[in-house]
Symmetry: C2
Subunit: 349 residues, 2 copies
Amino acid sequence: MKLSQIGELSLLEHIRRTFSRKAKDIIVGIGDDAAVVNPSGKRILFTTDMMAEGVHFDLRFVTAYQLGFKLISVNVSDIYAMAGKPSYVLITIAVHHTTRTEFINNFFQGVEAALKLYKIVLIGGDVSSAVNDIALSATVIGYAENVIQRSGARAGDRLYVTGPLGDSACGLALLKQIGSTVPLQVTRSVTGLKQAVGYRKLRSYLSRQGLSWKMTEPLLRRHLMPEAKMPKQWRRNATAMIDVSDGLLIDLSRLCNESRVGARLYEEKIPISAEMNKAASCLGLSPLTLALSGGEDYELLFTAPPGKKVRALCIGDITESRRIIVDSAGSERPFSAEGYQHFGNENTI
Amino acid sequence: MKLSQIGELSLLEHIRRTFSRKAKDIIVGIGDDAAVVNPSGKRILFTTDMMAEGVHFDLRFVTAYQLGFKLISVNVSDIYAMAGKPSYVLITIAVHHTTRTEFINNFFQGVEAALKLYKIVLIGGDVSSAVNDIALSATVIGYAENVIQRSGARAGDRLYVTGPLGDSACGLALLKQIGSTVPLQVTRSVTGLKQAVGYRKLRSYLSRQGLSWKMTEPLLRRHLMPEAKMPKQWRRNATAMIDVSDGLLIDLSRLCNESRVGARLYEEKIPISAEMNKAASCLGLSPLTLALSGGEDYELLFTAPPGKKVRALCIGDITESRRIIVDSAGSERPFSAEGYQHFGNENTI
């Protein structure tokens, strides 16, 4: 049987069952955003995520700097999603031996920009050659006093998201139309935009579509240089939390699976940015589909008991078991995990 | 400039300088076998290493089971080389979507065998698809009361190694001659050897060469399923320690660089196994060259003050700055880092 044929039988579920042995100081092992261990009373979190060329990124559309930044963000996001504070990171990078040093330098500049943003420190790693594709991975270690797992949601809880969804998927669709990299860096101003590779393509594409740079920049940024969302005040009331990395429906399904509950989503409450709405219609895409199934937004999705004052967008509530979406006319339809899945299965051990 | 052209200008040295920022609870950051942090009095070690298809392994010669086992061993070896006790591991694996599930299952069986051997627990990871090559990485976390760094060697110290060198490189050379995988598993008995793929090739090769399975098995095992060496009693007296992963001369040079010292190696004291001596001559290879420059033996190389009783093989001593090899006739020649280096440079951040 090939991986692509597994379907419902989850490879990761198998791994998880095989390795679910509990050691006395493991608070959370396999199956959540990060692992938590408790050495002498202090909880330390570990998470790892990889990015493979041709699967997670395409060098026609992303710069080495942006890759470095994003590699850190996606891992930090997993620590934040447990209400942890990221502290350290280890990186592995395998690149072809003909790769130019500028590429590696730019990659690590992007890493450095992210380290500054999240106030974390690189403490190790491994650099190797690769025969064909670039492979990147990072392990982020963090601390938490109280972790918020995926498993704490209860029927009756409200469901919240911390910001608009679908921007990243829309940004990727835009990038593919533009057909080149875009010189975004960590600062909001685009340094040397006019001198940059791809500027002409970008300008000509935008003017053909009647789109402005001001409107497209946030969408491209959400895809190329996502910033992980710090859990801040939400952690006080959250009963369960996950980051939206693979798409709202997939990640909500994971939260529901872990909590053994269902959810009711209200279509009209799902936050969609004005920029995404406009760009999606130019691209002939449905903003709602992007928001439900587009991945890599790195917003936090969490639940909190009713009656709590929560400064986030309520998009639904937790049910006993039914998983339904309610449209603007009040009609209900069931939902299941949809979006991007490697081998059609979950990918985080 | 391409990575392959960098030569003396070390890419990793650059990364190390860029990221050498010290946080108050980092005991050892970039530049040793593992990173050490000190949360509330307890030292936690982290290390990461990757294995890329076509660079670190070739599926014509290694089984998925062996890959899984080796991935854990090479990382555990880094924790041991700091005198740490490994505790947890996170894994990332990227495989082509047409990869058969048997491959993944076998890989994780190999991982599991190693986890049992080292008494460690898998606490997380990431599985992804890859377009071409398989990429594997692991992060191992451990504890230590007192770490032994690479930097503690002093002129006058004796230099020790914990076992024979060159076996792994000789095993690889044998494998290439055999031209297929060899069904070694963690148990010493080879289950189903005669039924295994490659058995005929193996048998015909061995009989042509006048080599026995009993003699070649330990060499193949050292390459395919290396076992990390626990520092045990050595840790009491060791002033500096490193594992021999890239070859004696490279790893000794690293130890010397970090300690700002030189070393004098005695050729005739370098331990060479009887099996390797025999097989190397069948292969037309120099046992000494394999022992000096072959990698992946995962023995520990360490220094201890003179006068200490050390139950390991003394192969030389530490000098102020000269790095020389003394041959059996007493002639001296300088040595420098030789062996396998990605891009001709150090590869551990």
